[in-house]
Symmetry: none
Subunit: 198 residues, 4 copies
């Protein structure tokens, strides 16, 4: 992506990576507008023109970070259809595993997540993308008879995404819960509901 033929390990590539990392941190912490190119390069021990050696503009580096996040998330959600014919007890485990993987990715990449999931103008589109992948999965399982027929899986998928984004901010990034806990609590609730059945 606009690598201009530089090789991995070259000093230029190092500067570029550094700028990306520092920019991610600053964008995540201060937002797009309060992040200044001057601060990014200062943190990298470089000067302003050098920034423009590697990125076309402030918008461009932000967009590149967004794209990195989007692609990583895409990789995580690909090939994730459940096998048909699972035993009922296994469904929870399966779903929980996938949800946990996403939470883990978020915790390991908090800056990218903040950018791609919350700050970018593409955030809505990215969430839509995630919701769509989830929706495909759930619909299959619904056809397989695991889930109630009356549920609208596109809405349920949005609900799932909403839960994940909120828990990520309020419990994951704060360190109050870890990915596995959150996955378990969330899936438990979604599968079996809150209400005691008499």
């Amino acid at each position: 992506m606009s690598n201009r033929g530089r090789k991995k390990g070259s000093i230029g590539e190092k500067s570029r990576e550094q700028l990306l990392t520092i920019a991610a941190a600053q964008f995540a912490t201060n937002g797009f507008y309060e992040t200044k190119i001057s601060t990014i390069v200062k943190d990298a021990g470089l000067t302003q023109p050098t920034f423009y050696l590697y990125f076309k503009s402030k918008e461009a580096i932000f967009k590149e970070l967004t794209t990195i996040f989007k692609n990583s998330l895409l990789n995580l959600t690909e090939d994730s259809l459940l096998d048909s014919g699972l035993k009922e007890e296994m469904i929870k485990q399966e779903i929980q595993g996938k949800v946990g993987a996403i939470f883990r990715f978020f915790r390991e990449n908090p800056h990218l997540t903040k950018i791609g999931f919350f700050l970018s103008e593409e955030s809505e589109a990215i969430k839509k993308m995630l919701a769509h992948a989830i929706s495909m999965n759930l619909a299959q399982e619904q056809r397989d008879g695991y889930f109630h027929q009356h549920l609208k899986m596109d809405v349920v998928a949005e609900i799932v995404v909403g839960i994940m984004e909120r828990l990520t901010v309020s419990r994951l990034f704060t360190g109050l819960s870890d990915p596995e806990e959150l996955a378990e609590e969330m899936v438990e609730l979604l599968l079996f509901g809150m209400q005691v059945q008499h």
Copy 2:
């Protein structure tokens, strides 16, 4: 809030209200930084110095809008504890009603909602506040035996907020669903879960 002795209905008060309304629309549409004082006053048929007659700064008017949203939401969630001793079948109705009321408020105040729930630096605090109110309610009902004992109600409350924010953006503001539908789908899912019980 900083009304400086102006009377309702006075011409100054009209300008002030106008500025608030126009600013809300612009902030909601373009975000804080892409909203320019120059544009707000132009839309209001006023000049820039006039703006500073009514508001201390750009931050101040934004904060005022945030506060309006927060207080309205606070009013909605006050006095909302469920009565103990409800019949099981009524719980769903009760909760659905409250959730529906919030969705209705969001739909009727989309600009304020965008600002207070999504754009403001206070947004997190406001969601925390809402989650807390919900948590109080749910905990009471849990103590009353309606909900499973193993559920951590603070986490559940965050989940509820997460669902509401996502559905608001993806289905309510887009016109795909109306408040009652959303309330029903969401509460149904939360109370009874997705999985068919054999």
Copy 3:
């Protein structure tokens, strides 16, 4: 032209005129690129943002100056067709008068002339425009039998413009000749030629 409703004589209009005048001088002296907004406003006793109160950009003020020159020149060349049926001896007087008027305009507006005739990207178009007006005139007189039939008047018109631009720079702006002299020398040569006829 982007006057924003300011009235003549208002203080804002004064600032605007001042900026135009100073900018014209600087552009004429240093060219477009070596002219700095910072210098223009300093000369006007103003600050940089003020410049943008009156002009959209550096390009815009330059273009405005070009347009002023073009329109003035257009006014000079309008309604300038010679009357048919002039006595032969009068033709020289007539043409000389018109040429002299243009030289006078150039001498009185050296900065604008430098910009519109030499520095602007529109300069070629402006000269074309002038050449066209001249060509129309000469062609008429040719039809009236005053000028040799074999002359291509579009080429002759370009020749006339070339003479004027060069004499303007080398003799008019240097003070070596005055408009009337130049007009006389130029017209004399063009009408009767250099060569002694035996």
Copy 4:
């Protein structure tokens, strides 16, 4: 000129020539300021530091191109005094030949001509130089009785230069006329004038 001992045909000399040619094209097309060193070297398949191996600065290469033009033009106008004692009919042929040679040179070197005759800060001086050479010639012929005594040959020389520069831009570079046509039209007009003599 600053050849630093490089031999013709050496690889360095090839790069240098290439840079000169490409720079000439870009300067002629885009002007001095809109021509970027980065673009020149990219077109030459080289890098920026290499440029400074051959030229001290952007100004330096531009000046070198100007000088090349000036010297070529100088060669053209040297030893060009007309012989005294020409037959009247031959004068036109002689002058036309010289003027045609200059037009031919301009057409064959359009980039250099644009630079040296129109873009360079030396352009005025170069035109002055050309005008002077022409003036010398004309004065001699005037003394020989070929031209009217009342003509000021320094002014006439400027007129000749003005005609040439305008026709070069408007008719030669556009392909509307060729050097011989232009020379003929121009000299015919200058020698015999426009007006029909009754």
